[in-house]
């Protein structure tokens, strides 16, 4: 692992450890304030908050180890560090692709499902996913007709086939 990647991971560990510390303290507080059901004549040793509290304490200890270790390695400098421009460019590209994947997937799973006919929603999703990643922004759309046509054909065939196979052959409920 290179020095840069190493320090970047240390910085990420620093942020993760803070989130985990806050998270585990929340678990401990919520477990402590959880009813002990004494009025129902229940043994306090079997109270519902015992195990979550214990897990919260273990998580807190592990998060503190991570925190101390990242501090020692200078993880707190994450906000000051500047990355190399080529690496930053590559990282930006990956981030854009992941964000786009996430966006279309979320629109499909939360926006379409249950609100739109399953086959139509799935068809639109597959078509837009393929177009989004296969169309080259620099070139005129006229020259990319093939991509659109093939994406459309794949979207129609795939959505109909999935609906047919799952609903008719395997008797599965579709959203």
């Amino acid at each position: 692992m290179t020095d840069m990647a190493y320090s970047k991971m240390t910085g990420k560990d620093f942020i993760a450890s803070i989130i985990l510390i806050v998270f585990s303290i929340t678990i401990i507080v919520m477990s402590y304030t959880m009813p002990r059901l004494e009025r129902r004549g229940i043994d306090p040793l079997s109270a519902p908050g015992v195990v979550p509290g214990m897990i919260g304490v273990v998580l807190l200890c592990l998060a503190l180890i991570l925190f101390v270790r990242s501090i020692r390695k200078g993880g707190y400098r994450i906000f000051q560090k500047k990355t190399h421009s080529t690496e930053e460019h590559r990282h930006q590209g990956a981030l854009t692709r992941v964000s786009l994947t996430l966006l279309v997937s979320l629109i499909y799973a939360i926006g379409f499902l249950g609100h739109l006919n399953y086959s139509i929603g799935t068809g639109i999703f597959i078509f837009s996913f393929i177009c989004l990643f296969e169309i080259r922004p620099g070139q005129p759309l006229k020259d990319q007709k093939r991509t659109f046509v093939f994406a459309l054909i794949q979207a129609i065939i795939a959505s109909l086939l999935i609906t047919l196979v799952f609903q008719q052959l395997f008797l599965i409920d579709l959203p």
Binding site: D43, V50, V58, L66, L102, Y108, F125, I130, I162, P175
Partner: protein
Amino acid sequence: MFEGLNYFWESLLGFMNVRTIFDVFWSTQLGIIVGMLPGLTATMGVALMTTLTFHMAPDNAILILICMYIGAIYGGGRSAILLNIPGTPANAATAMDGYPLAMKGEAGRAIGISTTGSFLGSIIGMIMLAFFTPLLGNFALNFQSFEFFWLAVFGIVISGNLTAPKDPVKGWISGFLGLFIALIGMEGIHGFVRFSFGNTNLSGGINLIPAMVGAFGFAEILSMMKFQHVNVVKSKIERVIPRLRDIFKFRKTIIRSGLIGTLIGAIPGVGEDIAAWVSYDFAKRGSKKPDEFGKGSVEGLIASETGNNAAVAGAVIPVLSLGIPGSAPAAVLLAAMFIHGVRPGPLIMIESPDFVYKVVAMVFLATCAMFVLGLSMVKYVVKILQVPRTKLMPIIFTLCVIGSFAIQSRIFDVRVMIFFGILGFVMLEMEYPVAPMILGLILGNMLDTNFRRALVISEGEILPFISRPICIVLISFIVLTLVSKTQWFTTVTARVTEKITSYFKEDS
């Protein structure tokens, strides 16, 4: 022993009908394709198949799942050899020597060797499954709440340790996070709803299958889409049938890798990928030509493929005998068994001993199908690898959606899948292993109910937790696992080893 053999033959004969054989072949072939395609893992395949086989008879459904599991772990080797991209994490070690062999123009030979290695590994695993499941099951009958509590802790600790070798702390965080997530919803002793914030869906708890489809399916899609290009296969495939001398020459490596693979597979939540790496490492250490490893060594390829397929049967051993999965796909298998009314665990050898041998027969059938399919139709099947991922990923995502929705018909489960997908992706990016979290999700309930029940039984006494013989053994294992990566432990063991070696040298 003979009773077991009898059960095995009876089960095997019971499966000998056209419909079942057809099911075995199509599901194994589908498994090989799923394993081959980067972005589709064995876990995802088994989870999706659980949904598809929901309405089938339990025996048929579980048979199909096992075929999918074995097929997928084997199939991942194809893309590792041809693309240098492991189809499933279990095949990462395969790429080390498989791809260099393909680059030398020996792709067919590499596929043939990996098929035979996988077949033999699976057979060794199957024999150990038949032998050790009853033994472990009978031993586990001595377990009470105290032991089950420590067993759950041990599972998390060792899984975290082995799946995050660089930084076990991250593995343990992942495991304990999983344990916490398992506690969301109604608890098993008093019916009190925890951490649901008034949400009725959350009060029912987090279902394992949507969580796993998200963590191993959607997270994988996001990871795959991160990269701009993936090279398409262009390797020529000639003779696939392996040469007997290739296999016979490395018989010791095969047996050793098979045994190691099964053993690692049987450790809770560790899985096939670690089994393959450990087998590979041992083969390298024991090899006469360790320099060839990583440059197209047949021995290295055979070791990793034997190890990962042996781990499949190994991972089923704790599923049947303890109700704890040995790997992520085995966790789905465990959930599927519960869905179909089978209750694996220590009582299985008393309630339904025939089921254990039925599973052994299923593994045998799947292994034979894998061998036949692995050596035939290779040229045509690998063409699937040429499908660009921009066309494949949206279809995989729709399958993720169906896989998480179908069992309970709830949109909430689709959201759970998405949440775990994002969480899994972030965890992968930050070098946290996902497998301990999923194991935690399974063991959470066991840890919770057994700890509280044990406290009530002992009237608040902590002593039984640390004084019962099996508890002492488990605690020792936990402590050993916790300290095994510390500098202090490494220095002490090195000094002790040095002293022992010098003592024997002086003696001789």
